[in-house]
Amino acid sequence: MSDQSFRISAGEALTAEKITEAGEKPSEAVATYAVRLGDDALILAQRLGWWIARAPELEEDVALGNIALDQLGHARSFLSYAALAWGKTEDDLAYFRDEPEFTNLQIVEQPNGDFAATIARQFIVSYYQFELYRRLVDSTNATLAAIAAKAVKEVDYHRDHATQWVLRLALGTEESRRRMIAGLGVMWPYVDEMFRDDDLVESLGDAAVLPSSLREDFDAVTGAVLAEAELEVPEGFVARGGGREGIHTEFFGPLIAEMQVLARAHPEATW
């Protein structure tokens, strides 16, 4: 194998711009599904961006910032594709929708909390996204499959990053272990929602991935890490969910207000 084959050429990678340029219009149902996945990534990216200049060390600032940028890239691809269905742009969808129009899972909008809470959220979401994208690669919709193929490699690294920190925090000091347990306790109620099927995904057949089909693998792989970290799978209350129908927790409003304020104050501004 030549050395060249190990390198991903920036020129050949799938980008949001190329999806827009190709202009292949998705059906209403596919677009609605793409918005869901795009919103998950966009809101998570917005949350993670907060850590820049606030992480425990400069190196961790960069790590979380890189993960946020990866997520933003996935969001741009999904939203650019979806936007074609309605003659809109990715920016229309990101900046000019209101709270009930966002269909992300509630876990991604949960506050960062301390570093351990953010790691708990990363741990849950990255394992979920990995299981999802790894199956979406086989979607009958070529664009969704291509976006997933690019995203799955990046999310695999996010999984590794979260796993390393779960192990270190859980097996570190008494204080780090206490915080890791508390962080998982705050985030785990939002796990159930991630695996709920509904009419839309069922109607899409092999173009989409049934959320319920991810649960078994998610439980097995996260369970193995938690066992290694000598942690129990948190039990207790289950959040009501509803993110896919535009129902959000109290933390969502301030999040999108901050995300959208500049674009709304200066519509169509470029810089």
């Binding site: 390198r7 060390e57 190196e59 590794d160």
Partner: protein
């Protein structure tokens, strides 16, 4: 060394990063970074030094494990090779009958 975070004054240790840019080339020193342990140092190195296709392999080594030459001993250690031209191949004359030199 006490564990990072065990007290307020113990930061993460420093690591030196070596990146091999292509198969067949040597690892070259790329810079340094902080990390709590070797596994995280490799990951931080990936984030800091290989985001733009720079590498196919990364080495990290604790900065404190490197033994360096003494900068104050430069005179003796890196003595000028002037007058010792015989250390260079060009000092020697071509032997008759040896081709392709």
């Amino acid at each position: 060394m006490s564990a990072p975070g065990s007290n307020d004054t113990e930061p993460w240790p420093l690591w030196e990063v070596f990146v091999r840019s292509s198969r067949g080339l040597s690892h070259l020193h790329a810079g340094s970074l902080h990390a709590p342990d070797a596994e995280m140092a490799v990951r931080n190195a990936r984030d800091l030094y290989t985001r733009r296709n720079e590498g196919v392999s990364v080495w990290v080594v604790r900065s404190s494990d490197i033994t360096a030459s003494d900068p104050d001993a430069k005179g003796a250690f890196f003595e000028s090779p002037r007058g010792k031209e015989y250390r260079h191949a060009s000092y020697y004359t071509e032997s008759e009958g040896v081709k392709h030199l």
